[in-house]
Structures are given as C-alpha cells and as structure tokens.
Amino acid sequence: MVGFWFLAPVMVAAALGILFVRKAVHAALLLAVVMIGLAVLYLVQDAPFLFTVQIIVYTGAILMLFLFVLMLVGVDASDSVVETIRGQRVMAIVVGLLFGVIVVLGVGQVSLGAVQGLAAANAGGNVPGLAQLLFSKYVFAFEATSALLITAAVGAMVLAHRERLTPKSTQADLAARRMQAYAEHGTHPGPLPAPGVYARHNAVDTPALLPDGSPSEISVSRTLQSHGTVKTAPTRDIDRLTGAIGDGTSNLPVRGSGPRGGIDGDPSDTSRPEEGDQA
C-alpha cells in the first residue's frame, strides 16, 4: 500500500499534465508515466502477466506508435488555445468534475465486502490460470480478437496506402519544368544558394549574406523558417568587419617588415571585402 500512496499522486499529476501541456510530445511522455505507474499497480494487485503486457504492449508499442505519428504529423496550429465554441471549455470542465465527483462518491459509498485476494486463483501460477480461462471459457472472444486484429492490420494498410494517380516525374521533366519557369517568370534555374558559412556561424539555420550585406531568405530551409529557429545573420556585421579590415589596411605599411609580409603580399587580397560591400 506504500507503493500505491507514492504512485497515485504522481499518476494523477501526470494525467493532469496531459490536459495542460501545449505540445503533444510532452502529453505522450506524461501518458507513459501514467502507464508505467498503472503497470506497477497491476503487479501490486497480483497480476504479473498484465504488468508485463502493460509495459511491452502499451508503453512499448502503442506509445511508440503515437510518437511515430507525432513525428509524421509534425508541428501544426491545432495546439492553439482559441476556443471555437464559446464556453465549451468551461462547460466541459464543470460537467467533467461533476461526473468525477459522482463516480468517486459512488465508489466510496459502495461496500465491496471482504477482499478475497488472488492467492487461491494464482496457486498454479498467474499465466497458467489466465491461459486456462482464455482457452476454455473465453475461447470464442479470443478468436474474435484475432479477427479484430487482422481487420485492424488490413484497415491500417488500406488507410495508409496511397495510389499514385499521376506518373512519377523524371529528372528530364524536372529540368524542363525549371527551364519553363525561367522562361515565364525569370526564376533562377540553378540550385538554391547554400546557407551562410562564416567563422562564427556555419550551421544550416544561418542565412547567407548577399553582396550588400542583407540576409538571403531562400538560402535557409522553409521548415526551419516555419519553426522560427532561423538565426538572424548580423546584417551590419559586414560593415564592422570591413571597418576592421580597413583599419588593418591603414596599418599595412608595417607589414613589409612584419613576419606575415611574405604571405599577404598582394594588396588586392585585403581590399576584396570592400569591393564586395560596394557591389
């Protein structure tokens, strides 16, 4: 019973968390907490087989399925908090709480009699006892579940399968379409520019800088833009850099005698960023 009083608040808190977290992934993880807690409660109540099934099937398979679908669906606007039906949320919470109070009161009032315990039923082991019931008294229900599982598998395949209605476009088609777009709208037929690679930021979430120092929108993936994780390239950074290099050129007369004199002997090298800035 100590385990119960420790687990029950954790499980209720995690279940309440499902109601309030905004991201569906967090809800799935909180649901995993509730399910593992339930598995432990099954073990406490002499149901070791259901403990194993709960961990393997529910937490292992079903929740992973949820996470797979979450990854496929991705982030969308369905987590918004705007109500579409006015007063629906308040009414739902009030009615739900009423329902909960009634059920809890009813369960608390009813007298269940003495708890008989499963010591006698589990005498020959829990799994043999369950198998005895499953293959004698509930054998038709068991067969029906096999039909149900096959139907579910076929249904999932039918729903997930997509028939190709148009022929698959080949590389030649893509090239022709690109040249068509260039002819009609002047879209650049070449590949999109690569993201910015600088000394300090060389990740794909940093836009490349155009010659005038402004960031290029099309150099960053649209997915990153919709997630809002694009780093803003320091627009005026290039001015500061050219300023710094300009200072360097003003100090250049000493370089002939310096140790680096042999390396950057060509003055056109140092003036290249300034040319780019003016372009």
Binding site: M11, L31, G108, N126, L130, T145, L148, A156
Partner: protein, 99 residues
C-alpha cells in the same frame, strides 16, 4: 489492502481522460486521453478481479488491451489520412459533415 483507493484512483483517471477528450483540440492528444480512460477502466477490472478472488477481471483487462491496440492502429491511420488531405490534425478542421 483495501480495494477502494484503487477504484477511486481509477475514477479520477477516467474523469481526467474524459475532460481531456472534451477540451483538447489536437486529435492525437484526444486519442491519448481515450487511452487514459481505457487504462483507468483496466485498473478497475484488475481491482475487482482481486476483490472477487478469480481471474476473470484480468482476462477482461487483457481483452481491453487487445481492442485498444486495434483501435489505436486504425485511429492513427485515420488521423494520418486526414492530415495528408487537410494538412491539420485539429479535430475542429474535420467539419465537412456539418455543411
């Protein structure tokens, strides 16, 4: 070990699942709340199995798990299909039958 605390916990979890189905808008989260309700009823079944001293309740909980697995497979496939055509997993957007 009394059975009532287990039943009360089961009722509380069922209620939370119920409120979640009514308030959340993301279809996947609504599905998770349905799973929560099924799990809560499983806890009640296992508890009643212990109260009555036979394994029938545990067999029933096992069947509930099988049905839940089948339901999740088909339900998530439906959500994926709706998402592919409507680009949204919100339960409010699938409202074509209304008009």
């Amino acid at each position: 070990m009394s059975a009532t605390p287990f039943l009360v916990l089961s009722a509380i979890l069922f209620t939370i699942g119920c409120i979640g189905v009514l308030t959340r808008r993301n279809a996947i989260v609504v599905f998770m709340c349905i799973e929560l309700m099924l799990n809560a009823s499983n806890l009640a079944l296992v508890t009643f199995s212990r109260v009555n001293g036979n394994l029938d309740g545990q067999v029933a909980a096992f069947f509930v798990m099988v049905v839940a697995a089948a339901e999740v497979v088909v339900g998530l496939a439906i959500i994926m299909t709706i998402f592919r055509t409507r680009r949204s997993a919100s339960v409010d957007d699938a409202s074509l039958l209304k008009y």
